[in-house]
Amino acid sequence: MKLKKISLWLTALVCLLGLFAVFAPSGQVQAADNSLQRVKDKGTLVMGTSPDYPPYEFITKVNGKNQVVGMDVDVAHKIAKDLGVKLVIKQMDFDSLLVALETHKVDMVLSAMTPTEERKQSVDFSQVYYDAGQAIIVRKQDLHLYKDKNSFAGKQVGVQTGSLQQDLAKKQMKKSHLKALTKVTDLILSLETNKIDGIVAEDAVAQAYVANDTRLAKIDAKFDLGGDENGTAIAFAKNSGTLVNAVNHSIDQIKQQKLTKQYINNAGKYMATNTENKSMFNYWSYFAKGVGYTLLITAISVVIGIILGTMFALGRMSRKAILHYPAVWYIEFVRGTPLMIQVMFVYFGVGLLWNNIPAFFAGVVAVALNSAAYVAEYIRGGIDSVPVGQVEAARSLGMSQRDTMQTIVLPQAIKIIWPSLGNEFISLIKESSIVSIIGVTDLIYQLRAVQAATYRGVAPIAVAMVLYFIMTFTLSRILNHAERKMQHG
C-alpha cells in the first residue's frame, strides 16, 4: 500500500519533469533566418518596451487616450515605416523583455537597452542608435557633496534591476552599497525619502527627472566606458540577421538625418504636457481603467476558479485513482508554488506553444488556475463537514449519488464554504496585482504609469491603496450581507 503511494508520487514527478522537457529545448532550436520575411508576412512589427523611462519611453495621454511615446517609439515608427509594416507596442517589465524576445512574443526590444557582452550571449543587437553619457541623480540640497562616481564610497546607490547602470556600478563603484529596484520611479521615491543617496541613470533620463522635479539635481558619473558599452541599441532574437540588417539601414538614415534630436524634442513636449498638471484627478482615467481591469480579472478568475475548484474537489474526493491523484497533484503543486511564477510560466512557457497568447488572457488563466486549487480545498472541507448521516438518509430513500450531491450535500456545504470563498474573492483582488509584471493593465500597472508620467512617487501609491481598500471593503460588505441572508433563508 505504502509502496503504491510512493510510486504514484514518483510518476507525478516524472510527468512534471516531462512537461519541462517539452518546453526547454524549443528555445534553442536554430531555425533558418526568416526573421525579416516573417515580419513582412504578418505585416506587423511588434516592439517590446517598459514605458517608465522618459524620455526614451513613457506613457502619456494623447487625445484622451493613454499611449506609449518617447524617442524609442519614434525610432520604432521610422523602422516600421521603412519596412512597410504596422508597428505594435507591447508593454512589460524591463526584466521580462529579453524572455519575450526568446519566446517570440515580440520581434524587437527598444527600451533604452545597452548592448552589453552578457546580453549579446542571448540576443542579437542592431548598431547603436543613440549615445548618452551616464549621470547620477542626487537630492539638490546634497549636490555640493558629490563630484563623480567616486564620491559615493560608503553611500547607498540605486540602480534599475538588470540595467547597464547596475553592471557599471557593480564594477566601478565597488565601495558603494547598491540597491536595485525594477522601476526608476521607485528609485526616485527612495532618493527623495533618503533611503538612497544617488541613482545611476542615463543622462537623458536623469535630465528628464531633474527638469521635472525641483528637489533633484544630477552630476556626471564619469564612468570608464568602452565602445558599445555606451549607448542604446535594438535587441532581436538570436539568428535574426536579415531583420537586423534592415533595421541597421534605418538607423543609418536616423543618424545621417540627425533624427534623434527631433525625437527627444518630441518626447520633451509630451513630458511637459504630462507635468503641466500633476494632480491625481487629472489621471483619474488611468486609475479607473486599472480598477476596471482588476475587477474584471478578479471576477472572471473567481467564476472559473469556482467551477474548476468544484471539479478538483470532487476529483480529490473520488475513490477512482484516475480522478483522485491528478486532482491531488494539481492542488498540492499549485498551492506549493508562487502565483508570480505561475503567471510567468503561463505567459512565457505556454507562450512557446501558443505564440500570440494575449497577456490579459494568460494573466486571467494563471490567476484562475491558482484560485481553483485553493477553492478546491475550501469546497472539499465544506463537503467533508456535511454529516454522513445526511448522505445515508438520502441514499436510503433511493436517491442517486448525483442527486444527493446536488440537493443535500452541496447546498449544505455552500453555507459552510461561503465565508472562505468570500475571503478568496477579496484576496484575489489584491493578489491579481501580480499580473502587472506581464503587462496586464491592472491597477498596479496604472499606478506605475501615473508615477512615470507625473514624476510623483507617493501620491499615486496612496490613490491606488485607497482604491484597493474601497474595492475590498465594499465587496466584504456585500458578501457579509449575502451570508446573513443565506443563513436566515
Partner: protein, 246 residues
C-alpha cells in the same frame, strides 16, 4: 406468507475485523422482526447491509426474489426506494423544511408532481401528528418530533419494508413513547418491519419474532415469549439478565 427478505450466510468484515460472521434469516411480508443484542454485536451493520448502505463481504440478500448482492449500483437505487430506513440520529435534511424533507425523494426519484407529493406528505404528517409543523426547519423540532418526521419521510416513498436502527436511543425518555406509538400503529397497519432496539417492552408487545444478535451472528430466534420467558442460549440469558437488572 410471502418471503420478503431472505438472508443467507451474510458476512461482513471491515478490514480484518469480521463484524458479521454468517447470518441467516427470513422476513415474511407483514412481519415485525425485532433485533436485540449487546453493543458492538453488529446489529447496525446487519441492518445497513440489508439496503446495501454497507456492501457485504459475501453471502446473499434476496429481496422480493432478487439477489441484491449481484445488482449494479444503479439498480440499487431502485431497491433502496422500496426499503425505508430510520436512523438513530434522525438525519433530517437540515437545509430543508419538513415539507421539503418529505417531498424531495418522491419528486426526484419517483417523478411525482408537486401537488401529488404535497398531498401525500400532509397525510403522512397528519398520521404522525405533526401536520402543523410542515413549514418548520428540523433544528426547531424536538428529537421526538424529528424522528416522527423521519418516519413519515421514509413512508412517503411507499416502501415495502421499513428498517429501524435504534430509533429511540437518542431521545429524551419523555419522547420515547410518542415515537414507539407511531411505530406500533405502523406495525398494526401491516407494514413489514425490521427494528433494532433496546426497548424490550416494544419487542414483547409488537414483535412477531425476536432475533438475538451477538458477536456477529444470530444466537437465537423465536417469538417474544420464547426469547424473553424461555431463552435457550446462554448468551441470550446473560444479556437479558443484565438488561432486566437495569
Amino acid at each position: 406468507m410471502a418471503e420478503m427478505l431472505k438472508v443467507e450466510n451474510l458476512k461482513k468484515a471491515f478490514g480484518k475485523n469480521e463484524v458479521l460472521t454468517g447470518i441467516d434469516g427470513v422476513v415474511n411480508s407483514g412481519q415485525v422482526i425485532v433485533v436485540i443484542g449487546p453493543s458492538g454485536g453488529g446489529k447496525s451493520t446487519f441492518l445497513r447491509c440489508l439496503n446495501l448502505l454497507e456492501t457485504p463481504t459475501s453471502g446473499k440478500i434476496a429481496f422480493e426474489g432478487q439477489d441484491l448482492t449481484q445488482l449494479p449500483e444503479k439498480k440499487l437505487d431502485d431497491i433502496r426506494e422500496k426499503m425505508g430506513m430510520v436512523f438513530q440520529s434522525f438525519n433530517l435534511f437540515s437545509n430543508m423544511n419538513v415539507m421539503d424533507n418529505l417531498t424531495l425523494a418522491p419528486k426526484r426519484v419517483k417523478g411525482e408532481d408537486e401537488a401529488q407529493a404535497q398531498k401525500k406528505a400532509l397525510e403522512l404528517l397528519e398520521r404522525v401528528g405533526l401536520a402543523e409543523k410542515k413549514d418548520a426547519f428540523p433544528e426547531s423540532l424536538s428529537g421526538g418530533q424529528q424522528q416522527r418526521v423521519a418516519i413519515a419521510r421514509a413512508l412517503a416513498m411507499d416502501p415495502d419494508v421499513m428498517l429501524f436502527d435504534e430509533p429511540t436511543s437518542a431521545l429524551d425518555p419523555e419522547m420515547v413513547g410518542e415515537v414507539l406509538k407511531v411505530m406500533q400503529d405502523l406495525a398494526h397497519s401491516g407494514m413489514t418491519m425490521v427494528v433494532v432496539t433496546h426497548e424490550m417492552g416494544f419487542a414483547r408487545q409488537v414483535a412477531d419474532e425476536v432475533w438475538f444478535m451477538d458477536g456477529g451472528d444470530i444466537a437465537e430466534k423465536g417469538t417474544p415469549e420464547q426469547i424473553f420467558e424461555h431463552p435457550q442460549n446462554e448468551r441470550t440469558k446473560d444479556f437479558l439478565s443484565r438488561i432486566l437488572a437495569q
